[in-house]
Symmetry: D3
Subunit: 131 residues, 6 copies
């Protein structure tokens, strides 16, 4: 259970409802997931976070699927259970196949391994990488 | 400086040279970066790690650029300076533009932020994500 | 469930009971939380950890509420579920309002985001910060 | 060195200069630190990040000093060298004394220790914390 | 629940069964734990990971118990619940007593604490350590 | 450079000197490393941390070398540069050979990899591990 519980649409202030409405319109769904219902206890953070997510996750130089896979890679690395579940679902919705998930996880695993090998061997940065 | 120093090709054992040769052939370069020259102190780890990286980073369901960007996202999240430098260079070589890097970093930053918001608000996982 | 179970007062050795007694006296409560009941399997660690916590969390140059909020910020960043629950409760008991919690979480989220932006852009430290 | 170098005011686009101007006006200084000069390579991220930081770090239910100490606690936990230097400087400017820093660090260290003790002993969350 | 469910032996492909057979033969057990049954969705990762684990965890310059305790120390530090449970069980099977676990946890806790004290005080590396 | 500089013996208060004396006597050396010279700005933390380290790192159910290798494994996982250097040196002094270091690093790398595979595949804990 979250500390303060979930804020349902019916109980939300107009300020919170406006964000919920924009989430549903932008995502073309009538579903608000628990992350937003939890943040709604702090309307300023709800609004700022949603607007940042909306701007950042829109297609640009990177497509939506690539962005969702990067989001998932970070969430798995940090061990965030909620974010792994939610962005796993979002990545699948954006087109991630089981084969793509398998390769994503292989890269995430290997990166976490070699990050520590580099730390432990205290590998000096190659001058070639600084150009 | 690394703890044990870098193993240059001229000083390497035949076992290590075989890995170096495969790295250079696979990557079509005559450059061995410091990560491998450090791991060379443990030929078994050098060989196993290189063979894993070679298998994982080959194009498959995901292309090389996407894989390098995921590698970079993990390295930045973990704060691995060497890996951020080396995979930043590798991603640029694989085609990452400055605009793509900007969007990648924006996603990485946002994911690290929302991971903690989810932790702190103790958001319960939506049943919809479990299907 | 914890690996070794919880050590209840009735089953505790005199050495463990002495720590439990001091916890209850210091906190003016008859409740020992599960963290201590788990550590009780290693009386030396129980005693050393409690004495350190007691010394560190006492009011000093920083008041108790500020200390509890810092403790919570670290626990959320690390994704420690138990510690987020226990220090969330402790911070509320020390006076953290819902508005304060909201601002705390906003700072924690932003810090986690900008930490990675600084890592990824490999920002050099300003000489002005070294003075 | 950062990957893309620092964007100085003289070389900045009007969009970037507008953010720099707001940073200097808000902070009442003529100094722009390297974090912003690095982010300036991505004006959208520069603007969004600055506006978020400005909103989050303004005094509210928590004062500026408390917010800066929380920022520092997170940065130290994550091992972000740049952020530890910059928010260490900001916290001192906001009034953090050496004694306050000492207590802050003691809490950060203890929280990082007990987070792992809770993980390792797999301590179950007390029902009392869920209310 | 895992995203894709567990692959039981009866439902596994010959490629996956070959890995399961080797796990059971190597460990002299008829039990395959859930980690491998989850990875089985990606047979290439299953095979590569098992072969790496088998090679790395074999007795060598370090004995099996020491290796399992190091594995546990890392898992606890990262807050990986599954790995803490599985390698806690593996370490006990390899001979870790309750007293050894207590000392292991004390070291893990202290290391996590002093890592942050070193970060926060920005302690410069002693030249003596570089030799 | 550290924020507050290093406190040399000649400039230390009697309280700090007493800790320095005990470090030198316990370790049978006349060398105080920079970690302690930095903590000396907060004599209470210096004393408490030293006494905890002294108690925890003494030989017990685990020998000194095993403890130092666990300390190193945690420090490498967290990416603490100072601690990797100092506990790498301490482990070598306690008898860690290059072959042992190689195996330690292999385990640390693999644990960091499989921790994320377990997170990403959301592997459910085997009931067998809970007994």
């Amino acid at each position: 259970m979250s500390i303060f519980g979930l804020v349902e649409y019916a109980d939300a202030s107009p300020e919170v409802r406006a964000v919920y409405d924009d989430i549903m319109a932008t995502r073309q769904t009538d579903y608000i997931n628990n992350f937003w219902k939890s943040l709604a206890h702090d309307p300023a953070t709800l609004k700022r976070t949603w607007e940042s997510v909306k701007e950042i996750m829109a297609p640009g130089a990177l497509d939506v699927l690539t962005k969702e896979m990067i989001y998932l890679a970070v969430s798995v690395t940090n061990g965030c259970g909620y974010c792994t579940a939610s962005h796993g679902a979002a990545a699948r919705k954006a087109g991630m196949t089981e084969a793509m998930f398998g390769e994503l996880m292989a890269v995430v695993g290997m990166a976490n391994e070699t990050n520590r090998l580099a730390n432990g061997y205290r590998v000096p940065i190659d001058p070639a990488f600084e150009k």
